[in-house]
C-alpha cells in the first residue's frame, strides 16, 4: 500500500509539500508538475477532474481556498476515503498557519517553512491509513473519528477539567491518555469534531515536552484568528490540553496545573489502567467477540478494543493488530454506510449515486472471521467474531453489546 499527498500552489504551480507513506518512491518534481498541469489544463476547458481510478487505487485532485491544490494518490489495495484525507490535510494546514495565509500565499517560501510544523500531524493522518502502523505505540486508526477510552472516571475528570479551564481562562480542555481522548471539559463539544481531532493529534505530536503552547487556527470556528493551545504532560503518556487566550503566561500555567491536578493523580492512574481494554471493567463481552469498535456518531468518537477478555488466550491465529485492521477496514468499506452523517458533506455537486437508505445492519463473512455492524440510535457497534459463530448469534450478541452500552453507568462519553 502507499499513499502520497502533494500540495501545489494553484496559480504558480510551486510545490508546497509532499508527504508519503508506504513503499513507493517519492514523486519527482516533473511528475508533480505534470499532475498539476493536467488539472490546470482541464480547468481551462471548463472541466474539472474529480477522481481518477486506477487498478487498485485512486488519484484525486482537490482545490482549496482557490489557492492550494492537493493531489492525493493511493494505491496497493488501500481502502480509504481519499477525499476525506485531503480535506483533513487541508484542515491541518489551516490549523497551523491560518486560512488567510493559505488563501493569499504571499510569501510561498515562508509558508513552506511554516507548514513544516504540521508535518507530524500530516504524518499521523497518513499513518492512520496504513495497516502496518498498527503496532506503533500510538496508533491512529480512523481519519475522521476521535479515538477514545471509555472509563468510569470520566465524570470526575470532567469536573477537574472544567475547573482547570476556568483557572487558565480557557474554554476547551481535554485529558489524553496514550493518544486517546479520556475526558473533556463540558463545553469541549463546541469544537467541531475535526478540530477536536486535530487537537488530539497536536498533543500526540508534542514528543513528550512537559509544557508547550502552540498557536492554532480552528478551521471551522476561527480560521483567521489564532488560539493558543497549551499541552501539559501530567504523567507518562498523559497529557492535558487546553485552548485559551494569550494570558496567563506559560510559567503561570505550570503553577495552575499543579494546583488543579494534584489531587487527581490516583484517579488518572486508575483511568490509565483501562487502556488497552478501553472499556470499563463492568462491561463484559462474550468470549467469541474478538475485537470491538464502538462509535458515538454525534461526537465522532470511537473506541477500539482488542483486549476484551482479561485472560487473553494467545495463539488464536490472528494478531491483535490484524484484528484492528480488519475492524478498521470493515468500518471504512462497509459499516460507515450505516451512519450517512459521517460522510463528507462538501460534495455539493455530487449526484448521489448509491444512496442506499435505511440500512440498519451489515456483516462480512470471511474464511477466518466474521464482522458485524449494527446501529442503535447514536451508537454504532462494529464487532469482530470468530468465524465459527453463526450469524443469528452474532446479531444477538451485537445488539446485547449495544444495549449494555446504553444502560451501563460507567459509560460516559
Amino acid at each position: 500500500m502507499s499513499v502520497v499527498v502533494i500540495a501545489v500552489a494553484t496559480e504558480s504551480g510551486v510545490p508546497i509539500f509532499s508527504r508519503k507513506r508506504g513503499n513507493n518512491e517519492s514523486i519527482q518534481f516533473s511528475t508533480i508538475a505534470s499532475l498539476h498541469g493536467i488539472n490546470m489544463f482541464s480547468k481551462c476547458h471548463n472541466l474539472s477532474m474529480l477522481n481518477t481510478q486506477v487498478d487498485n487505487g485512486t488519484i484525486l485532485w482537490k482545490e482549496y481556498c482557490k489557492s492550494v491544490t492537493l493531489i492525493g494518490i493511493a494505491t496497493g489495495g488501500l481502502e480509504c476515503d481519499l477525499e476525506l484525507l485531503l480535506s483533513c490535510v487541508h484542515d491541518a494546514m489551516v490549523f497551523c498557519i491560518g486560512k488567510k495565509e493559505l488563501e493569499t500565499l504571499k510569501n510561498i517560501d515562508q509558508i513552506k517553512r511554516d507548514l513544516r510544523q504540521c508535518y507530524p500531524i500530516l504524518d499521523y493522518l497518513l499513518e492512520s491509513l496504513d495497516p502496518n502502523a498498527l503496532s506503533s505505540p500510538l496508533p491512529t486508526l480512523v481519519l475522521d473519528l476521535i479515538q477514545s477510552i471509555l472509563c468510569p472516571q470520566a465524570q470526575q475528570l470532567q469536573q477537574a477539567l472544567d475547573n482547570y479551564a476556568e483557572s487558565v481562562t480557557g474554554r476547551w480542555a481535554c485529558l489524553i491518555i496514550h493518544g486517546h481522548l479520556v475526558a473533556t471539559s463540558s463545553d469541549f463539544y463546541e469544537l467541531d469534531p475535526r478540530e477536536a481531532r486535530l487537537m488530539l493529534l497536536l498533543a500526540s505530536a508534542q514528543d513528550g515536552a512537559p509544557l508547550r503552547d502552540t498557536p492554532v487556527y480552528l478551521p471551522q470556528m476561527s480560521p483567521n484568528v489564532a488560539f493558543r493551545a497549551v499541552t501539559c504532560k501530567l504523567l507518562a503518556d498523559v497529557y492535558i490540553l487546553v485552548v485559551c487566550g494569550a494570558t496567563p503566561a506559560l510559567s503561570q500555567i505550570d503553577e495552575i496545573v499543579l494546583q488543579c491536578w494534584e489531587g487527581y493523580a490516583s484517579i488518572i492512574k486508575e483511568a490509565k489502567l483501562v487502556h488497552p481494554r478501553n472499556f470499563p471493567m463492568s462491561l463484559t463481552f462474550e468470549p467469541c467477540v474478538l475485537g470491538l469498535l464502538i462509535i458515538n456518531i454525534n461526537k465522532r468518537r470511537c473506541v477500539f478494543s482488542r483486549h476484551l477478555h482479561l485472560s487473553s488466550q494467545k495463539g488464536r491465529g490472528m494478531s491483535g493488530a490484524h484484528r484492528m485492521d480488519i475492524l478498521r477496514t470493515f468500518y471504512v468499506t462497509s459499516a460507515r454506510d450505516l451512519a450517512p452523517e459521517l460522510k463528507l458533506k462538501d460534495g455539493n455537486h455530487k449526484e448521489v449515486n448509491d444512496e442506499i437508505g435505511n440500512m440498519c445492519e451489515t456483516y462480512w463473512c470471511s474464511e477466518y472471521h466474521k464482522c458485524h455492524a449494527q446501529r442503535s440510535g447514536n451508537i454504532l457497534c462494529c464487532a469482530l467474531y470468530a468465524s465459527t459463530v453463526q450469524l443469528h448469534t452474532i446479531r444477538l450478541i451485537t445488539s446485547q453489546i449495544l444495549q449494555d452500552l446504553s444502560t451501563n453507568k460507567d459509560v460516559y462519553w
Binding site: T75, D354, T362
Partner: protein, 907 residues
Amino acid sequence: MNNYKSKVSYDSPCDSDNDWTNSSDDSKYSDSESSVPEWDSDVGEDGELVYIKIKNDNETTDYTKTPLLENCETFKLRNNFKRSSTRRSTKGRIFKVLKSHKSKTTESSTRKGDDGASNVNRNMLPDEKLIIVQVSKSMIFSSEKNCQIEKLFGLSLETHADGKTLTVAEFLTEARAIYTPKVQKGYYLQKINGIEVNSYNINNILQRVVEDHNSPRLTFQVPTESHKVDLERLLKSKTAPENSLTHLLKESLCSVLYICCNDIEYNSNDDKGVLYCYPRPFNQNFLYNTRGAYVTLNHLAPKSLGTSEPTTSTVLHNNTLINVTYTSHYNDLLLIAFPNKEVDMFAAKKAIADVVRLLEFLYGSIKSSFTKPNNVDKLDSLFARVFVTLVINSRGNKEDGGRSVELYFEDMLAAHSVTLPLEVKVQVDDAITELEAADYREWTDDIENFQRLYTVIGSCLYYSGHLLSSHLQDEDLKEINAYLRLNGILKLSTEKELEKLVVWREVFINEHRKQNKNEGNEFRISDGRWFLLTVGKGHFVLSTLMEAGGCTEDAVGVTPPSPFYVEECESCLELLYDVGLNKYLVSWFNSNSQPQVETSPEYLTKYGRKIRDINSLKPDSTLKTSTLKISKQTDKRRHNSTEQINVGSSTSDMNSMNSLTNYGSHHSLYAQTYSTAPKYRHSSLDVSYSEDSNSLKSNSEVSEERIQGRRADREQRNRRDSSGSDSDWDRLDRSRASGSLDMSDIRKSLLNEINHVTAKRITAGEENVLFHFVHLESERGVLIAPVKNIEVLANNVLYSYIVKTFRSACKQIHELLQHSIRFKKNHAPSNPLNKILVAVKEHGMLFQAPVDILSQCGVSKKNCEPYLFWVVGRVFSEPEPRELYLCYHESVPQDLTEVAYLLSYLE
C-alpha cells in the same frame, strides 16, 4: 446484384457441379429467382444485412390474460400448416430440384401478397394516444407576439429536438380552459383538420385554416416515449446517424475518442493523432478538447506514479458529472464518456468492457475498428446505438423522478438467463441442435459429395431479452451478448413483436483473435472467416455463429447472407413456435415460479397475514387452490429425486399469478377440445387426399404445403400405401397410428403437461421470504434472476422499493466480492491486493423499509413492526467463481450455501 445471384446458386448445401443440378438448370434458376428473400434489397455493399420488420402493435394482444386456447389440439394443427409453409421454402426447394417439381410461382406470388398486406399494416399507426380538440372558429385569441398560431388556437408551439415535430409550449390564459386537462405542455401537435403538420408545412396549413370556414380540429399526440429514440430505424440505417441524434448525444455529453499516440501516426495525422471522434464536429466534443489531460494521465500513471493505467475518471463538465473510461491498446487510447446520471461508475466500467468486447468481435481488434477504411459511418451508427441503448433510452420518465430505469445491475453483468423446466430446456436445445447439426440427409442421400457453405459453431437463443439457451463458448457468448445488447436488438425484441429480423455480418471470434497473439499453437483453428447470423421472430432472437473455411467452402470477397441459412434459422424458430414455446414462455414468464419470489412483501407482516387470510376466504380462490394442488402432485412425481425443493404452498397466491387461474379454466377447455380434435384432423386430411388420388408429382400446392422433412417422407409413404385403399377412415387410422409418433407431436404433448406451473422455493421457512435473487456466473457470462418484468408483474410499491434497494446494494457487494475473485484468479497479482478484503466471501446488509412506503401498501402505521429485509451476496469460488445475491425478509435466516444448492436443482 449479379454477383449476389451467382452466390445464391450455390447456397444450397449441395455444390453446383454435380449431376442433378446441371440436369435441372432451368428449374433451379427459376427457383432462385422466384424465391428472392424479402431482405434481399437490404444487403449492403459489404454483404452486411440488417432487416427488421416489426409486427403491428395491435396484433400483440397480450397472451397473458387470455386462457391458453392455443394449446389445444385444433390450434396445434393450424400451427402445423404454418410450419409446413415456412419450412417448405427451404427444403421444398431442394426437393423440387431433386425431383423436378414444378416451380413455385404460385407460392411466391402469395408471399408477395402477404408482403403487401403487412406493408399496409405497418403504415397504419400503432395505437397511440391521440387527443382531438376542436377550437371554435369564432374565438380569436389575443396574441402579444402577433403569432398566427396563438391567434387561432390560443397556444404556442415549439419545435421538438428532432427538428420536425411540433410540441405544445404554452397555452394562452384564455385558451387554457379549452385544452386542459386533456392536452398538456409537451404534447405533440400531430394534425390539423386531419392533415399531418410539422415545422415545415405549418404555415401553409395555417393559411388553409384561416381560409376554411369550419372550426379547426387539432389532433394532439401524447408523447409516450418522447425521449426514446427509435432503435429500429437506427439499426436499419446504413448512413451516419441523423444530425438531431448526434446533437442529442452531444447534449447528453456522450462521447468517444480514439487517439493514436505513437509518433509516426501522431505526426502524419491531421488531427494530432485523433483517429476517431464522435459526436462531431471535433471542436464541440469535450473529450476531444480535453484529450491532453487523459493522454498525459495515461502515460504518467504507470511510468511516474507506479500505479496501473487509469481505468476511469469522473469529471465535472457544465455541471454534469461524466464518467470517462480509458482503454489502452498498445500505444493508443480509447476514451468513452458516459453521463453519470444514467451510467454510473459501476455501469461505466462494465459498459466499457462490453464495448471493447464488441469492437474486437466486430473488427478483430480495437485498432482495426478505427483504422478500417470507410468505416466512420458504421462506427458512428454503432456508437450512436450504444449510447442510445445505454443512455438515452434508459432515461427515466418524469414520473420516475428522472432516475435511470433500465441499467439494472443484472443487465450490466452478464446475459440474463432464466431457469426453465427440464422438458422445455430439452425442447429448446433440441431445436437448436438440429440447426447446428446441419444434417440434410433427409433431402438428399448423396450428402457426402457436397461441401457445405458454413459450419455452425454454435448458437444462442433469447426470448424477450432473456437467454434461453446457449451452445456457444463462454467468450463467444459474452461477445454476442454484448453485440445484441449494445445494438439494442435485445431491447427491440423485448419491446416489440418482431415479424422478421435478419442481421448478418462478419465477425472475428475470440478464439481466433487469441490465437493470433500466441503463434505456434499445436491445435490451431483454421484460418477462416466467421459470420454471425441473427434471426428474430416474435420475441425470439436466435444468433448463430458460422464458420466459412476449414472443412467448409472458403468465403471469398463480399459475403452476403445465404438465404438458405437464414431460412434454416427461421425454421428453427418456427419449430419453437410449433411446439408452442412462444405461448408457453409467456405464461412461464408470468408465472413467477422457478423459483418463486414473494411479490407482495407486505404479506409477510402481521397485518399483511390478516389481509391475506381474508383474501383467501373469497370464493374465487378455491379454483386457484384446487388447480395448484393438482399440479403439485404431478410435479412431485416427476421430481421425487429432488425432494429438497420446496413446493410452493397452495395458499401463497399472488396478484401476478393470474395465469394460474387461467390454467384452471384452460384445463377443462383442453379436455373438451381434445375429444373433438380427431374429427378436425380427419376432415383436413380428407380434403387433401381427395385431391391427390393420382400421383405424387401432380400434388396440389395445398397438400404439398404440409409435407416436408422426415415427416414428409413418412406421410408420403403413408399415402402411397393407402393409395390402393378407398376408405378414408382406414387411411386415417393408420396415419394416426404412425403420425402420432412424430417427434413434434411428442414435443407438444410434453409442453402441455408442464403447463401446470409449479411454484418452487429456494428459501427455508414456512413462508416464502425470497424477494429477488441474482445468480451470476461471470466466467460463463450468464446470470439467473427472476424475469425482467417481475416488478411490473408485482405492481407493488414496497416490492419496487425492495428491488431497487437490492440492486444498488448488490453493486456494492459485487465490488467487494471482486477482491476475492481476483485474488483466487491470479495468486501472485502484480498489484498488491488488500489482504483483508480478499478473504471476504459473504457480505450482507439489512435494510428497513420506510414507513411511508409501508403505509402505501396498506400496512397501517399503528401496528407497524419495522419491516426488515436482507440483501446478501456470497461468492463461491470453486470450481469457477459464482456469485449469489439474495434479497429476503428478515424473519427467516437463510444459509446462502443451501440456497445456492437448491437453486442448482432448478437449473
